[in-house]
Amino acid sequence: MSVRPAVAADWGAAIKLAQAQTLTEPAQPRAGPAKPAPVDIHLGYLRAYAPQLALSVLDVPPRDEGVAGANVAIVDNNTTGRFLGQAFSLDVTEVNPDTDVNAAFEALAGKGVTAILADLSPSQLLALADVAAAKGILVFNVGATDDRLREEDCRANLFHTVPTRSMLADGLAQYLIWKQWRRWALVYGSHDRDRLFAEALRRAAERFGGEIVAQKEFVDTGTARRTDSGVVQIQRQMPVFTQGMPEYDVLLVADESEVFGTYVPYRTWQPRPVAGTAGLMPLAWHPASEQWGGTQIQNRFLKSTGRRMLSKDMSAWTAVRIIGEAATRTQSDDTARIAAFIHSPDFSIAAFKGQKLTFRAWNNQLRQPVFIGDGHSVVSTSPQEGFLHQVSELDTLGIDQPETKCVLK
């Protein structure tokens, strides 16, 4: 089973209003004969889709990756909505990667969506956020890990439930430091996203006291990912590729592009563990996590989809639940009130990660623990004990407020 990730306004007044409602009579919903007609809360899901290859067939993303998580959350929201007269629905639209999203957006906007979940490339996502802002529609990024979307390219109406590369790299680094495996060798792919994750790992080394003793690029020369006798060649190729490095404790792999990473474990020149995009991986969710009530969501997801829940499913589930929670607490389908509630300092969401998750007010990134696991089980969750922070230990993961380049407008 694959566990990889595929690739300031007056909020105070709004929250006080929301709280006042939960504490006083009118907002206490009643079951009974005088039920009002349900309020429809319509959400969009816009994704760039093209079939993807992987080095192992087990890692080929399921056709409904992400969407399935959103669908399960819609059912959860509707179970709650039944008591409150709110009905949630989801409209899924697919576009080709790197194509224009305007037409798809206009179609969703025409259907009156409150918010759009987006699983798009960074450039598509920014284009979507900007046209959505003009119509007061919120966008939830459930797929892109790029730090720049939360930093220099951040947007006020763009929320991120998916963790960043730097959050993932920091989560992994904290575990390696806790293990006292401090000497790292780094091998990375030749595509942009591989380099970005390699950069996040270098940053993590500097932050937490890892030492990168060697680095090597694996250049993609365009070989087919699946050939009949490929394993024979790979068995000879990988030891040679990792030969000649100084002594290290862990070999870090940055290969989001699925070119060589899966081939690294068990084939290294030195007999050492592998971590990064292969071996021990940092993940937003693990399909085997049963801690903190995780069994319940795992059972629910499996029953509804027939497969295990992956990271993108969890990011999408969380986004839909956030909107549901905001609609429940504000007793409203009004986008402005929902946005105000999500932005308010008292907002939090439970997502089977052992503690409440909140948004970083300075860049709309959801704070969250990171699972550290291999293909079969959860090994740990970060932040690790002892990595302290003056605001939230979750802010030891990723780019923190003092370093942020984001100015929300």
Binding site: E25, Q28, R30, D76, F83, Q296, R329, S348, A350, K356
Partner: protein, 325 residues
Amino acid sequence: MPLKSRFCTAVVMSLVAGAQPASAFMAYVSNEKDNTVSVVDTASGTVVKTLPVGQRPRGITISHDGKFIYLCASDDDTIEVIDTQTHEIVGQLPSGPDPELFVLSPDGKTLYVANEDDNLVTVIDIESRDVLAEIPVGVEPEGMGISPDGKTMVNTSETTNMAHFIDTDSHEITHNVLVDSRPRFAEFKPDGSEVWVSAEIGGTVSVIDNASRAVKHKITFEIAGLRSEAIQPVGVRITADGKKAYVALGPANRVAVVDTTTYKVEKYVLVGQRVWQLAFTPDQKTIISTNGVSNDITFIDVATDEPVQSITVGAMPWGVVVSPQ
């Protein structure tokens, strides 16, 4: 670890102070991880027997005559009935899938069970072993409380974040009250005037007025040196005189003692790691906490609110109930 050493000091001090031993009752502790129930003599503070039970035992309660233990064997999708004399499993109740917590009606005849996987509360007639009703509730039902007059049952749903008030005659939901994230437990005050609902992720206890069915107060917890995310209220018990409430705070490793008039936290009692559920002895002199991660239970003296003794039980103790005799 600093926590541990402070805990030991507290125990030693209370022993020196000559705390009274608990009277002779049997406490039954469900051990979630090793599929056993530990039988603990509260007078001697020893585990007298360990019973093999079904898979993933969690919620545990006892018949009013003390003859039978009812135990949620969550992964076996059943409720086991254990004879307290012979310690044999003498029967099963049709719980529905994944039973986690339940509550017994004041007359001892009906069991109300939360089925986490199916968003249902199952109502079971104990004598006939019939399912009387299945009540659709919110997502991941868990906490179960019942009013002293038996007329109102409260279920909490962990992902819907509500306390559902259910009329036990009609089996209909009459009120839905929003509380904070992941509500885990519902406990009526003995006079029936209030329901206390803990919220694990929200970190609060909502006090719901039973007449108006509205939240009248929210209790929050602050412990110096602990980040707020580590304070996760789960089990709640209120003394028979209605004056004090005990709230288990999960990974904060403490039980909060709350004045039920002022809603102020009077004390935080350091027990073991990841404290989940609580039970009084029938004489109300002792309250017992289950400490999941440290595999033990702690006796707290209700008069002084000092931890008196910790006893190692099975793996991951979850629930606890004490015999009435």
